[in-house]
C-alpha cells in the first residue's frame, strides 16, 4: 500500500505543457497573418470605392485612390527618394530618442522604486511630462537648443519617457511579498534585490512600456520636424510641403510609411515580449 502510493510521486514525469485555453479558436499562425491582411484589403477597397464613387473627379486630390498614391508616392523615383530620405531622418531621431528614453526612464523608475521620498518627489514631474502640451514646448526647444538633431531627440525623449517610467515602476513594485521575504531571509543586499528579483520580474511590464514609447517617439520626431521647419528635413517637413502643394498622394505615402515604421517597432518589442514570457513560463 505504502509502496504503491509513494511510487507515482517520486517517478512522476514532468507534466507536458498544458495546452493553452484559447479564447478565440483561430489563433494559429496562418490566421495571424491572413486576418490582418484581410482587414487591409477591406480598408483599401473601401478607400478606393470612396475615392472613385463619392469624390467628384475635379476634387479627387482630396482623397486620391490607392493606386494613385502607389503610382505617385512610391513608384515615382523622385518622390520615393524624397520621402524615404525624410523617413530615414525621422526614424534616426526617433530611435535615438527612444533609446535615451528607455535608459532614462528605467533609471528614474529604479530610483523611485528604492525610496518612497524619491517616488513622491519625482513622480508628479513624470506625469507633467505626459500632460505638457508638446506643441507649445517644441518652439521653445528650438529657441534653446537649435533646430538640429539633438533638439529633435529631446522632443522624442520627452514624449516617450512617461510610458517607460510608469510601466517599469509598476513592474518593479509588482513583486510578490513572499518573494521579497525570501530575499530578506537570505540577507540580500539592495542591489541583489533589484538585480535578481525586481528587474527580472518587471521585464514584461517594461516591454509593454517600450511598445507604447516606440510609437510616441516616432510621432515626437515628426512633430518636432513639422514645427522646426529648419535643419535636416524629415517626414514632418515633407508633410507640410505636400500639404501646401496639394500633393495628397505623396502626403498619404509619407503618412502610411511612418505608420509602418511604428508598426515594425511594435512588432520588434512584441517579439521580445514573447521571448521574455517564455522565459517566465507564460507562453
Amino acid at each position: 500500500m505504502t509502496a504503491t502510493l509513494e511510487a507515482p510521486a517520486k517517478t512522476a514525469a514532468p507534466e507536458p505543457p498544458r495546452p493553452r485555453k484559447r479564447l478565440w479558436p483561430f489563433t494559429t499562425a496562418p490566421v495571424r497573418v491572413v486576418a490582418p491582411i484581410a482587414v487591409f484589403v477591406l480598408v483599401v477597397a473601401a478607400w478606393a470605392a470612396s475615392s472613385h464613387l463619392l469624390v467628384p473627379e475635379a476634387s479627387r486630390f482630396l482623397l486620391p485612390p490607392p493606386e494613385a498614391v502607389v503610382a505617385e508616392g512610391l513608384l515615382d523615383p523622385a518622390a520615393r527618394t524624397e520621402i524615404l530620405t525624410a523617413l530615414w531622418n525621422t526614424v534616426q531621431v526617433a530611435l535615438c530618442g527612444l533609446a535615451i528614453a528607455i535608459v532614462l526612464g528605467v533609471l528614474f523608475a529604479v530610483v523611485m522604486s528604492q525610496a518612497r521620498w524619491a517616488e513622491f518627489s519625482l513622480y508628479p514631474y513624470a506625469v507633467v511630462l505626459q500632460t505638457i502640451p508638446i506643441l507649445a514646448v517644441v518652439p521653445l526647444f528650438g529657441f534653446w537648443f537649435g533646430y538640429e538633431f539633438g533638439s529633435r531627440v529631446i522632443v522624442c525623449v520627452m514624449v516617450s519617457l512617461f510610458p517607460v517610467v510608469t510601466n517599469t515602476l509598476f513592474g518593479l513594485k509588482s513583486v510578490a511579498p513572499a518573494e521579497h521575504d525570501l530575499f530578506t531571509l537570505h540577507g540580500a543586499t539592495r542591489f541583489q534585490r533589484l538585480w535578481k528579483l525586481q528587474l527580472p520580474a518587471a521585464l514584461p511590464a517594461m516591454i509593454s512600456g517600450f511598445k507604447i514609447s516606440g510609437g510616441q517617439a516616432i510621432i515626437g520626431s515628426i512633430v518636432a520636424d513639422f514645427f522646426f521647419r529648419q535643419g535636416v528635413p524629415g517626414v514632418g517637413r515633407m508633410i507640410d510641403v505636400y500639404r501646401q502643394r496639394l500633393a495628397t498622394e505623396e502626403l498619404l505615402t509619407a503618412l502610411l510609411l511612418s505608420s509602418l515604421v511604428g508598426l515594425c517597432l511594435f512588432w520588434a518589442f512584441d517579439l521580445l515580449a514573447g521571448r521574455v514570457d517564455r522565459m517566465h513560463g507564460k507562453r
Binding site: 500500500m1 505504502t2 505543457p17
Partner: protein, 250 residues
Amino acid sequence: MSIDPALAFRGTSLTFANGTRALDGIDLEIRPGEFVSLVGPSGCGKSTMLRLAAGFEAASGGAVDVRTDRLGYVFQEATLLPWRTVARNVELPAELAGVPKAERRTAAADAIARVGLAGFEQHRPSQLSGGMRMRASIARALTMRPELFLFDEPFGALDEITRQHLNSEVGELFVRDGFAGVFVTHSVPESVFMSTRVVVLTGRPGTIAADIPVPFDFPRDPELRYTAAFAALAAEVSAALRGDRQEAAA
C-alpha cells in the same frame, strides 16, 4: 531536554501599526529534535510567529530568540522565481550569500536529489506540478542545512495524496537531520502526523490554548493515520480548538 532551545518566544507580543493585536504574551520553546506544529483558526497569529522567528517582523513586546543563523523557511506558495530553472532557484540562497558557483551547484544538486527531483534541474517552475514545485522549495531551504526549519502552511494548496507524501518526506528529512521544526497548518491530522508536539493557538490576539505531546516514534508509517491512538490525539487537538470557539462565543 536540557539542550538550549533553537527557537524561544518569551512573553512575545505583536501589535501591528494599524492597532491589530496579532500575538499576546506567547511563551514557547522549541529544541533541536523537536517538531512542533502550530494549529489554529485563520488569523490566530500562527504564521506571524514564523515571521517573527525569521525576522520579517519585529516583536512589539517580549523577545524572540533564534539560536542559529542556519534557518530554513518554506513559504505558503513555492515562491520560486519563474525565470530561473529549478537548479538556479535552489542555489539562490547560496548565490545571495556569495558562495562560489561550483560549490553552490554541488549543494543545490544534492538538495534536489534529496527531495526526489533529480533529473528536473533544468526545468522551469511552470513546467512542474504543484507538489514538485513545493519539493523544489524545500530543496532550496535544505541548502541552508537548517538547524531551525520553519514551514508556513506549505502544503495547504496541494491535493491530499501529494500532501501525505510530502508529510512523510519532511518526516524523513527530520529524522535524518534532527533540526528543530516548526510547522504551521490548518489541518489537525497533518499536525498530529508530523509533530512531536502540537501547539494549539486561539485567535485574535493569538495565545497558546494547549500544548499536546505526540508520542509516536519516527519514522512514521502513513498507516498511522488510521490507528485508534492517532484518532484519540486528533480528537484531543480538535477539542482544544473547539474549546476556544465556545469561549469566544460566550
